[in-house]
């Protein structure tokens, strides 16, 4: 049986430090504490910066003596995270799990994984290959995915259009170009510059 008393305490602890860590954990519904949603901000200085990533958490019966199951519900482009399913390849979520770890520390580890990919031990072969062979494309794809999937898009698009207009491009053209590349301002800029 899940130790719900502990989960409650974990949620309280985590709630106290949302400002500091940016990490949130909340139950998916009021009905049960076994299914939760974790939120982590993309680490600064990475292509995930500015994005907010949601992670589906399912607690097994043996929690905390068995690891929680975690899976990205926000699409993310990363060698150790499946671009299809969001499955995470992280040792502490498997055989290196310890009951002394918490949901918060596990989410911190996931966040750390975002800043330090391990392409030699990949979950997503395509992403890992791109990371190793064509780092620049990897960075721009990851950034593009962050822009597209991990940001509240409608407000973002307006800001980006404004930015491009300020650079001297006509508003209509800026808008259509942005739309055609799926909202990535860098790609749009490249496209606009190349004509």
């Amino acid at each position: 049986m899940i130790d719900f008393a502990r989960v409650q305490k974990e949620l309280q602890e985590c709630g106290k430090d949302v400002e500091g860590s940016g990490i949130r954990v909340a139950p998916k519904s009021d009905a049960t504490l076994a299914r939760l949603v974790g939120t982590i901000p993309g680490p600064i200085g990475t292509p995930y910066e500015g994005g907010v990533f949601q992670i589906d958490i399912t607690l097994p019966d043996g929690y905390p003596f068995e690891p929680p199951k975690m899976q990205f519900s926000t699409k993310v482009w990363h060698p150790n995270i499946s671009s299809q399913s969001g499955a995470i390849c992280l040792d502490i979520l498997k055989d290196q799990w310890s009951p002394a770890l918490t949901l918060k520390t596990a989410l911190l580890s996931v966040q750390a994984l975002l800043s330090a990919p391990e392409p030699d031990d990949p979950q997503d072969a395509v992403v890992a290959k791109q990371y190793l062979k064509d780092y620049q494309t990897f960075i721009s794809t990851a950034r593009y995915w962050t822009e597209t999937f991990a940001k509240t898009s409608s407000r973002g698009i307006e800001e980006k259009v404004q930015k491009l207009v300020e650079m001297g491009f006509p508003e209509a053209q800026a808008r259509t170009t942005l739309e055609s590349v799926g909202g990535d301002e860098n790609l749009a800029l490249e496209k606009l510059c190349s004509g």
Partner: protein, 534 residues
Amino acid sequence: MEDYVSVDSDDDYDYLYYDDGTEDGGDSDRLEFAETKADADSQSVNVKVITRESLLAAQREDLRKVMDVLSLKEHHARSLLIHYRWDVNQLLSGLVEKGKDKLYAEVGVTILEHRDLVSSNFSSSKAKKSTVLCEICFEKVPTNVATTMDCGHVFCNTCWTKHFIVKIKGGQSRRIRCMAHKCNSICDEEKIRMLVSTRDPILAEKFDRFLLESYIEDNKKVKWCPSTPHCGNALRIDDCNLCEVECACGLKFCFKCSSEAHSPCSCQMWELWSQKCRDESETVNWITVNTKPCPKCLKPVEKNGGCNHVHCICGQHFCWHCGRPDKFHGGYHSCGRYTEDEQKTRNAKRDLQRYMHYYDRYKAHKHSSELESKLQKTMKKKMSELEAREITSKDYSWATEGLNRLFRSRQILSYSYPFAYYMFGDIFGSEMTKQEKVIKQHLFEDQQQQLEAHVERLSSFLEAPFNEYPDNEVITLRMEIINFSTVVDKLCRKLYECIENDLLGCLTRTSQSIAPYMSNGMDKASEVTDCKGL
């Protein structure tokens, strides 16, 4: 490890020696026979049967050795031995290589410097403060319901117990580590036993059993007898890796792959063959569809999570897609690449016909073998009838020996067909040129044919109603049976030589090894004699 190498090379030497013998003095049959006898004796393997009762005694010797050398407690010695798969020599060389501290840290053995501290731990900490915060359940608990492990980490008994139960039920009894993050230390089995037995005494018993059985399951020199229903025995061999053995329950099996004795087929060939012959039951279907064999322990592993980086219960990591154990192919996954398999474009009809050819002959010899096993009864009858008659010779060992020879050679003949099916089939396709293959196939088939002819003759002699023969004819028959037995033995040996040297010996890319020829039959397991140390 080194032991095995030296044993193997000894065997090779024996064969070479024997080879020389045939070439130099091929005309002298008697000399050759004497030599082959000696050869067979030197190959004999020391096989012990380990019963439920003698399991503890069987491992006591190894435990003692480690406990004496390192002056350790039993549970520490066990942890070390489990880590080294009960190979004492490897453990000791690991010790020399790494040094005590590093080895202990790697395995997770923590030895307290001051033993008296352990016993007074509770009382002294109690004196200081009466409660401790368990960092698992986040509850403050009195120190008398918390337990400190050797590594120094303290958690409450309830959490420890839950942790142990999850680990035991998860099949990880042999290395239950401390709950603290990144603490590698293996928990004291005494404490585990004590805590678990208060909550679930049956599980505590199972835990003990699992620890004991590690000696069988994590040990390459010991195997469960594969009998069904299980006889409860395990067998231990001392000096040879590849051999066929006979359990005390009477089952004969290959020690390497635990399936029925199948020499001269290699284990791989036998597995392919029996799979091919087996009716594909639902279970097999399920296992093939849903599991993959672990590259280390070969147990079928079922995937229970999304990630393709799979961990077997034995600790091995491997890629779910291609089953390879290496760290994801040194860089990134490349197993998704499509490589054209030429062999798949073969003619299915021709293939089936070929299979049927070999299968029919394999079955025919099996069938003959079954019929001949009835001979054993009639033979006894015939012998007792002869004994009742007053004739010169009273020794009928030639008849039983002839019969045993017949059984063994029939067995070899039968399994030589699946061998040939694979040897000259497609699995070594790229290893030999077509021409080479044809030449070798002829060489092998000539030997096989010769053996077959002699085995049939031997069989017909043994079936003769010699109890009705006059004395002089019995003597002639006796000579024939002795002669044919010797020749059949020689031919079996030659067939093995042909297989080992000319056929398998030439393969460069794949290594197929077979259990050596045992002229005197398989080694039967004897009881474990209790070690002197007790």
